[in-house]
């Protein structure tokens, strides 16, 4: 059977049949729904962040104006004016270039914070847990979910009976007798059906990638998208290989389908769920409540020793002389308490980081048992919806807070103000985005494994298909 004959056959059986058209329309509809939903989420986040930045920057300008006035006149209208404790610097995690392609766990984490002497590293991110937990626990439909969960199902449904129906109806023998090249026809039909699914999906996804997302640089977005699509194709190749092998090895259509559905349920749900549970069981996260307790202990210890701790700070900064200006005592005590709480909770934060790394390390092994987990982690990371990005932001914001404490601390302890030059030297917070190369490097080994597995399955399927006809029939 020639390729043109196969195409003509497939046009009737799948590509232009009701089933094929419904499949294509469903894919396009799902892509639109996922992508537009993602874009709406990003637009909301970006608008909220923009309003937050405007408001905070306006307050900083006001604070700066008061400081300039104080430096010029040596007097302030109020003892609260231009106090270093009242300097509040915004720290924002902007949406990733491809954030609309994978929500991942990103929607759980904070994207704004205020760096100030009133905060400590433990409570820097607070009052952000305001989303309705019901939809949050369900999660939203995004393009990565579509690739990992739904496209394999569509591929299975479109392909499982390519050979079985011909076998059971006796047409396979007919084709073998007349054309003598059953393996070629099966392979071409399999290829055509799945290529049509992936072509439809890819075209729709490209269109969505070309629609700009709020604030994202288009060049960077397209670069991330290219990597994202390549990972999606590798994952698609895995399912193509598995489906091809199943339809050749297993004779009955319903057995092919049930075996593939069972594999799908195992790879997509069971292995990741068990892996996550195993990671949680073996390396439970340190208690957040213990973290809170340490913070409270640090605060109360500092409250009781405010004078001694203040004296310690001033001893480290002999250049500061204590001002006799009336400054509310709680400015200094709050600063000292936060500084002490920061010291006390640092080991707990490190323990959190270590425990998270241990869990991630275990999951990075478990993922080899589930191609879906490999694909999901890589797609989410490239799109910027992974936990690592949220954690990197939190680390950078805490670091910026520590630097701010270093600048304002001596002045707060001495009841003084910082100079305009010191203020101007404080950098605005700018999240340092990971490079695409770094993200891909961290997923390189599992992706290479997935690619090899896919090629291996495809090669095995082709080899089995090339076996003598009596074995296939």
């Amino acid at each position: 059977m020639s390729l043109s004959t196969t195409i003509a056959l497939e046009r009737k059986l799948f590509l232009f049949s009701g089933q094929g058209l419904v499949t294509a329309l469903s894919i396009v509809a799902l892509v639109l729904l996922s992508a537009l939903g993602g874009k709406a989420d990003i637009a909301r986040t970006a608008a909220a962040q923009s309003a937050f930045l405007d408001e905070r920057n306006e307050a900083i300008e006001e604070w700066r104006g008061a400081l300039i006035a104080y430096e010029e006149t040596g007097e302030a209208e109020s003892p609260y004016d231009a106090r270093p404790m009242n300097l509040r610097i915004p720290a924002v995690l902007p949406p990733a270039p491809l954030a609309d392609f994978a929500g991942g766990s990103a929607e759980l984490y904070p994207t704004t914070a205020v760096l100030t002497g009133w905060a400590n590293p433990a409570d820097l991110f607070s009052r952000y847990e305001l989303d309705n937990p019901a939809p949050l626990s369900i999660g939203r439909l995004d393009l990565s979910f579509l690739v990992v969960v739904l496209l394999p199902l569509i591929m299975i449904a479109a392909s499982f009976d390519i050979l079985a129906s011909d076998r059971e109806g006796g047409r396979a023998k007919l084709v073998a007798v007349q054309a003598g090249q059953l393996h070629r026809s099966v392979w071409e039909r399999l290829w055509l059906r799945n290529a049509s699914i992936w072509a439809t999906f890819s075209v729709a996804a490209v269109m969505m990638a070309l629609l700009p997302a709020s604030g994202a640089d288009m060049g960077m977005r397209l670069l991330h998208f290219a990597a994202w699509l390549a990972i999606a194709w590798i994952y698609g190749a895995f399912w193509f290989g598995l489906i091809a092998l199943a339809i050749i090895v297993i004779k009955k259509g319903e057995t092919v389908a049930s075996a593939l559905f069972a594999a799908w349920a195992m790879f997509v749900f069971a292995v990741p769920a068990v892996g996550g549970a195993l990671a949680e069981g073996l390396y439970p996260p340190p208690s957040r409540l213990a973290f809170l307790s340490e913070m409270r202990k640090g605060e109360v210890a500092a409250i009781r020793q405010t004078a001694a701790l203040t004296a310690g700070i001033l001893a480290d900064h002999p250049e500061m002389t204590v001002s006799d200006e009336a400054v509310p005592a709680f400015f200094n005590s709050a600063y000292v308490a936060n500084r002490e709480a920061g010291k006390r909770t640092t080991p707990v934060l490190i323990a959190f980081e270590e425990s998270r790394n241990q869990r991630l390390s275990l999951v990075s092994y478990v993922q080899y048992a589930s191609p879906s987990l490999i694909a999901d982690r890589a797609l989410t990371a490239v799109a910027g919806g992974d936990i690592e990005r949220a954690m990197a932001y939190q680390r950078q914001a805490r670091q910026a807070l520590a630097e701010l404490f270093d600048v304002i601390g001596p002045a707060v302890a001495a009841k003084q103000r910082i100079s305009l030059a010191q203020f101007e030297a404080i950098p605005a917070f700018q999240y340092k985005e990971r490079s695409l190369g770094d993200i891909l490097a961290s997923s390189a080994v599992p992706l290479a494994y997935l690619l090899l597995l896919s090629l291996g399955l495809i090669a095995l399927a082709r080899r089995r298909l090339a076996a003598p006809l009596e074995q296939i029939l």
Binding site: L30, L33, N132, R140, A262, A270
Partner: protein, 471 residues
């Protein structure tokens, strides 16, 4: 004859390699889910007890200080976890576990456990309830797709029809056999869950018996509906493969896709306010008295007039302490308005999810099960409001000390540890299910409709299949 049919169904299932494999997988998942739940509940209890003890200790030992400074340091309310969370954690992982009962602020709860769990189980949350809600239907669909379609393909359905046995009797036999086989697999999940429930949980559910019965009934309805759909689709399909594809499509569409689409739509149509916007609203409520100079002046004037004095220093109580409490009480309705607006948004989002349960029974059982287990948003809100009531009582006690015991010393007044000892620990009892059941009436109706509809569908499809093969 029905018993013979049930026995035959039972035997043929157990002889089926796919069934045995899937059953083993379900059992392994159940054991894993129960172990994890056991560990989670034990950890919750341990951590909460330790945190409560430390909170009391640091509060009592904060040393001598101004009561209002202590009110700012404040105490934390820790959310107790009900026993039934071992079966269904609901939204526990997505709601905060601790709430800072700080002066001037009605804070949201903090520390969502989901943030610490990593990115492995994004599509599945292993718990006994998740197994019954999501895995059990797929399991039933995968083992039952051929229950009637297979007989039709093999020609045995025609033989059955020839015996003159009514289609309802055939259906009853099939349902009994399949139901018993499913029960054999699901029972360990239930027994292991009971074991977990009986060993942990720090919140006392006064009506745990009613809730447990409610859970059993709800899941019975749900699984009855699933059995009906599985056998009905199998009876409608002429071939096993068609039945399989149809059932998997139903599962993927109604159990996987629709909940996510609806959750996304609910948030898009009724967006929750951004964290920074909420922070501003709460901040405005908190500062309402302090930015309202007119109110401050009128309060001052009325106090001076009421007490017949000319200066605040001459008042028989401390003016600063009085205004602190006044500002608190002035903020209460403003905080309530902010949280009520948020709650209305949540209700609209939940309303859409409930509406979508008409097409997706898993949404109905998911919400109802969490409500019965005491792990839904409504129980979390009850905790939040209890904590707020406790905050108001505590802050008032501290402000009153400054107002009436300071001898007009105001912020210079220092209280000793006796005052801290007088502040009681936070205690929370979850509300009875009877107080919130009305929020779940649609879910209950949907489950009942699905159970009845599933059975009616199975009866209709079975009758049609028998008529077709008899022709």
């Amino acid at each position: 004859m029905i018993a013979a049919l049930a026995q035959n169904e039972w035997r043929s299932l157990w002889r089926n390699g796919v069934f045995v494999g899937l059953a083993a997988g379900m059992l392994a998942l159940s054991i894993g889910a129960a172990s994890l739940s056991f560990q989670r509940i034990a950890t919750f209890d341990r951590e909460r007890a330790a945190a409560e003890a430390v909170d009391r200790e640091v509060w009592d030992n904060q040393g001598e200080r101004n009561p209002h400074s202590a009110a700012h340091f404040a105490r934390y309310a820790f959310k107790p976890i009900p026993r039934l969370a071992g079966f269904d954690p609901g939204v526990t992982d997505y709601t905060g576990l601790a709430l800072w009962m700080e002066a001037h602020h009605q804070n949201p709860a903090v520390f969502r456990r989901a943030e610490d769990l990593g990115d492995a189980g994004r599509f599945a949350d292993l718990s006994p309830a998740w197994i019954l809600q999501y895995a059990a239907p797929l399991f039933l669909f995968l083992i039952l797709f051929g229950s009637v379609a297979g007989e039709r393909e093999q020609g045995t359905l025609r033989q059955l029809a020839a015996t003159g046995l009514p289609s309802r009797a055939v259906l009853l036999g099939k349902l009994s056999g399949a139901g018993l086989a499913a029960l054999a697999i699901i029972t360990p999940t239930l027994l292991l869950s009971l074991l977990v429930i009986s060993t942990g949980g720090s919140a006392t559910l006064s009506d745990i018996g009613v809730r447990t019965i409610g859970l059993v009934l709800a899941y019975a309805l749900y699984l009855t509906a699933i059995l009906g759909i599985a056998i009905g689709v199998s009876a409608l399909a002429r071939e096993k493969r068609t039945a399989l594809i149809a059932l998997v499509a139903v599962w993927a569409g109604a159990f996987v896709l629709l909940p996510r689409i609806t959750a996304g739509l609910a948030v898009a149509i009724h967006p929750s306010p951004a964290a920074s916007s909420m922070e501003n609203q709460l901040g405005e409520a908190s500062m309402a008295y302090y930015v309202d100079e007119e109110l401050q002046e009128s309060l001052k004037a009325s106090l001076l007039a009421e007490n017949g004095v000319d200066k605040v220093e001459e008042l028989p109580f401390d003016y600063n302490g009085y205004t602190l409490q006044f500002s608190e009480e002035h903020a209460h309705p403003l905080f309530e308005a902010v949280y009520d607006r948020l709650d209305r948004t949540y209700q609209r989002q939940d309303g859409l999810l409930a509406l979508a349960s008409l097409a997706s029974p898993v949404l109905a059982i998911d919400a109802l099960s969490a409500g019965l287990a005491g792990t839904d948003r409504l129980h979390h809100d009850a905790f939040r409001w209890d904590a707020e009531a406790h905050r108001r009582t505590t802050v008032k006690a501290l402000n009153d000390d400054m107002t009436y015991n300071s001898g007009n010393a105001g912020y210079a007044h220092i209280a000793n540890e006796d005052l801290w000892h007088q502040i009681e620990d936070f205690d929370h009892t979850p509300p009875p299910f009877s107080s919130i059941w009305a929020r779940y009436w649609l879910n209950i109706l949907v489950l009942m409709a699905y159970a009845v509809g599933g059975m009616v569908f199975a009866v209709f499809a079975m009758g049609r299949a028998q008529r077709e093969v008899a022709r």
